[in-house]
């Protein structure tokens, strides 16, 4: 028998791949579709180069990020008590959601949620999936809505950049992706859930160590500052609000200032220089507005 011409072979392969990609055919065996000419190992090579199989933190699903974020939030709340003033919490949520709407990731699995912490530390923390916290000590330092909005925009920046998820060790992610890819069950059994819970605990520990204990790397802080300027000004806030906030921290040797946001961040002076350059490159730079300062004082001014 004469071998088929190369052109026919090429079209046959394209047709085969097209069938393979269709919903009806996708469940059929690769070996059968390849006519037995491709071994399992070869087919795996095709699959690995041709598809977006999970490989990095960016492939963590929205739902997985949400469950990681919930537990990281719970770990933050195990360290800090809540400041349960509903007026303050509602105000934080409105300002925070306003800047989030102008961010690069306005929609997130269960939305952005903000909470005040009853601590004199000057600190703000963001867990994955949009659970964001600011301390009373930080709120006291803010004199207007622009300052608060820009700090919340900085925290939203950590969430949109998935900076928390990037703390998870690569080997742990590889284990998760392999495990979740092989266990095609509706509900996990005891052994499977024990394995996954172990990986989950490890991921939480990786994130909490960075977020609560060690702080983000300098690069992520500068990135979040740049995002704060972008998101804040897009919303219509004066981006210099974050500079005015940072200026309150310069040469502040108080214990409250030495903890939290500035325990591990780059110094206020280092950040101010970079942020001013970002602001200088804005096409339009909104100005502070008294109407916003007034409502800030009404909501946060009476902080106990």
């Amino acid at each position: 028998m004469k071998p088929p011409r190369p052109g026919i072979r090429i079209w046959a392969v394209i047709a085969l791949a097209a069938c393979l990609a269709s919903c009806e055919m996708i469940e059929q065996n690769v070996e059968i579709l390849s006519g037995g000419r491709v071994t399992a190992r070869d087919a795996q090579k095709v699959l690995e180069t041709g598809e977006k199989i999970r490989g990095t933190f960016a492939d963590i699903t929205e739902e997985e990020e949400y469950y990681i974020g919930r537990s990281v939030a719970a770990l933050i709340l195990a360290k800090y008590p809540v400041y349960g003033n509903e007026t303050v919490i509602q105000y934080l949520n409105t300002v925070g959601n306003a800047v989030a709407a102008f961010s690069d990731r306005p929609e997130i699995y269960a939305g952005y949620h903000f909470l005040a912490l009853d601590s004199e530390e000057v600190n703000a923390l963001s867990a994955p999936s949009g659970f964001i916290f600011v301390t009373k000590g930080l709120l006291r330092r803010c004199r207007d809505e622009e300052m608060l909005a820009l700090i919340l925009a900085h925290e939203v920046g950590h969430v949109t950049g998935k900076h928390g998820l990037q703390a998870i060790k690569k080997s742990r992610l590889a284990d998760l992706f392999t495990f979740a890819g092989t266990e095609a069950v509706q509900r996990y059994g005891p052994a499977q859930i024990a394995r996954l819970t172990n990986l989950f605990e490890g991921a939480l520990s990786d994130i909490a160590e960075q977020l609560i204990e060690r702080g983000y790397d300098r690069k992520y802080e500068y990135d979040a500052d740049a995002m704060a300027v972008a998101y804040g000004s897009r919303t219509g806030y004066e981006a210099g609000g974050i500079v005015r906030f940072l200026e309150t921290m310069v040469n502040d040797a108080s214990p409250a200032a030495a903890q939290g946001w500035f325990k591990t961040h780059p110094t206020a002076e280092q950040r101010i220089d970079r942020i001013n350059r970002e602001i200088g490159s804005l096409k339009t730079a909104p100005k502070i507005d008294e109407v916003r300062t007034k409502r800030f004082k009404q909501s946060v001014g009476a902080l106990k």
Partner: protein, 161 residues
Amino acid sequence: MKRSKFIALFGAALMLALAVFAADVVIIKVQATKLRLQPKFFAQTILSLQAGDRLEKVGESEGWIKVKTSSGIFGWVHSSAAETPKFALSAMNTTLKSKATASEVALAGKGFNKQVEESYRAAHGDISFVWVDRMLVFKANPAQVEDFLRRGRLGEYGGAK
């Protein structure tokens, strides 16, 4: 045809075919969102969408995707709320099953999910989730945020530049 050439050609054709078949479908990846009349957040909403809903992609504009529902309704969803699904043959195949795409894991609700959180909570009774759940109750809906923007002369209501 040599095996290496066949593999390369097969892979390229597969990617092309996947792109052709999958390019016009998006799946909602957030818990809940709205189909909007215009490509902006504070536009009138047409209907509610939830995680896993499939929509036909018919266009896009500056971070927004124009879609058509299965009942033929057109509207817009933000690109951060939807994804183009990716499916791996390896996850469907019993002999090659070793990895999966994010789309498959998301649709199957696998990986870190509610069941894993329950297991974690059972082992860590000292970690309270009471305020985490209460946090989810505090929210600002789009109408509240739009009113807040209007009163604060922000967004499209912006004043001093």
